[in-house]
């Protein structure tokens, strides 16, 4: 079973994402900010990360840059999932090594399409 780390400061969003991704046969771990997500990654890298941008302590962008510098950190597929929906943000995310980008609000179809796009499904 593939693993996905869901990083979002909203427990409601994490719950919705968990339900969708479990439906797509992923095993889920959750983190509420970038720093906690990095700790999870240090214990073991997931196959996928669904990543919010704006979070307290460490935001998603910083997390991504840190992840990509870790040994093996280039392997997990990172899909942003954020309300930041302008081209500038998307371009920055891709430049920092994001594989896909979901603009909130999202639903099962979008998550499934994007995970398909990066070869996770």
């Amino acid at each position: 079973m593939k693993t996905c780390l869901v990083v979002d400061d909203s427990s409601v969003i994490r719950k919705v994402a968990r339900r969708i991704l479990e439906g797509l046969d992923f095993e889920i771990t959750e983190a509420e900010d970038g720093e906690k997500a990095l700790e999870v990654c240090k214990r073991g890298l997931p196959d996928a990360v669904l990543l919010d941008w704006n979070m307290p302590v460490m935001d998603g962008y910083e997390f991504l840059r840190n992840l990509r510098r870790m040994p093996g950190g280039d392997v997990p597929k990172v899909v942003f999932c954020t309300t930041e929906n302008d081209v500038a943000h998307i371009a920055r995310a891709l430049h920092a090594g994001a594989n896909e980008y979901i603009m909130k609000p999202f639903d099962k179809e979008i998550v499934s399409a994007k995970f398909h796009e990066v070869g996770l499904i």
């Binding site: 929906n85 302008d86 081209v87 998307i90 371009a91 891709l94 896909e100 980008y101 979901i102 603009m103 999202f106 179809e109 979008i110 399409a113 994007k114 398909h116 796009e117």
Partner: protein
């Protein structure tokens, strides 16, 4: 809705658009036509039927439009676009190296995602096609969806279904809450209204026809008839792409499946009249159940 009204609408829709409704699709008709009746200040479907019977042409085409299914998304099913990139276009480029031009037809273009996906695919092939004259024609029975296609404007929801993020950033511009595809891609496609039940001989010959997820709404005879006319609208070495749940098998001998590209068909140049191929008539009947 009374059984009589339902029967009238079934017959009407079949004649006008080829839509083949089974006897139990009342809920579908009601869910699409009750809102239309309300919008037109009519009491209900019975009054709508009365108006059509008395010759209200505008309302009649609105009923046809309301009953068409326009579901589509960018790079739908993905695989046909892999075939396009990896097999169809490379083969056509070889075959057309002399004239350096391609004619492509999306026969049920809906809201434009399919022709735009093809256009982006070709653009992404870059230098290989530089200097080629490429004509992409998108047709649909519904005027409403053609207008949307032409505008090239899609909601945030629509651009997230099937469209890779890199292509969104590269070919779309944000317009308020919406996303508009670039003039460069838009200018590659011409949109025209067309009912597949009517003659399309005037459109000329195509190297590639996408006719996906529209024939499923037609009955067997109409499918056979349309395949026959599609074959005539195609170059002898052209390609036909059908939807994932569609096939020519058992319906026509005008096309044959591509040996290793699922969903892709080629004109069957060796087709013979049934009289000299014994047994041809039988499979036509035997395989008459839809492959959904």
């Amino acid at each position: 809705m009374t059984p009589v009204d339902y029967e009238f609408l079934r017959k009407f829709l079949k004649e006008r658009s080829g839509l083949d409704l089974s006897a139990d699709k009342q809920y579908l008709v009601e869910s699409r036509l009750i809102p239309l009746a309300r919008k037109s200040n009519l009491a209900g479907i019975d009054e709508l039927v009365q108006k059509i019977k008395s010759g209200a042409a505008g309302l009649a085409s609105e009923v046809v439009e309301a009953m068409t299914t326009n579901e589509t998304f960018f790079f739908r099913d993905k695989i046909p676009f892999d075939h396009l990139r990896e097999a169809i276009i490379p083969e056509l480029m070889q075959a057309r190296a002399g004239r350096r031009s391609l004619r492509i037809w999306c026969a049920a273009a809906s809201t434009g995602q399919e022709p735009y996906s093809i256009a982006m695919c070709l653009k992404e092939m870059g230098a290989a096609l530089a200097g080629w004259r490429i004509e992409i024609i998108g047709t649909d029975i519904s005027q409403q969806v053609l207008e949307k296609s032409k505008s090239g404007i899609y909601s945030q929801f629509e651009v997230q279904r099937g469209l890779p993020i890199q292509l969104l950033v590269k070919y779309f511009k944000q317009v308020g809450e919406m996303w508009q595809i670039s003039p460069e891609i838009r200018s590659m496609i011409q949109y025209r209204p067309l009912n597949l039940l009517q003659d399309f001989g005037s459109m000329g010959k195509f190297d590639l026809i996408f006719c996906r997820n529209v024939l499923i709404y037609f009955d067997q005879d109409m499918k056979t008839q349309i395949f026959g006319r599609l074959a005539k609208a195609m170059e002898p070495d052209g390609f036909l792409a059908l939807g994932a749940a569609e096939t020519v098998v058992g319906l026509t001998d005008a096309f044959k499946p591509h040996p290793d590209r699922r969903g892709v068909y080629r004109p069957n140049l060796l087709r013979a009249s049934p009289s000299i191929v014994p047994g041809m008539q039988q499979p036509l009947k035997a395989a008459a159940s839809p492959a959904r």
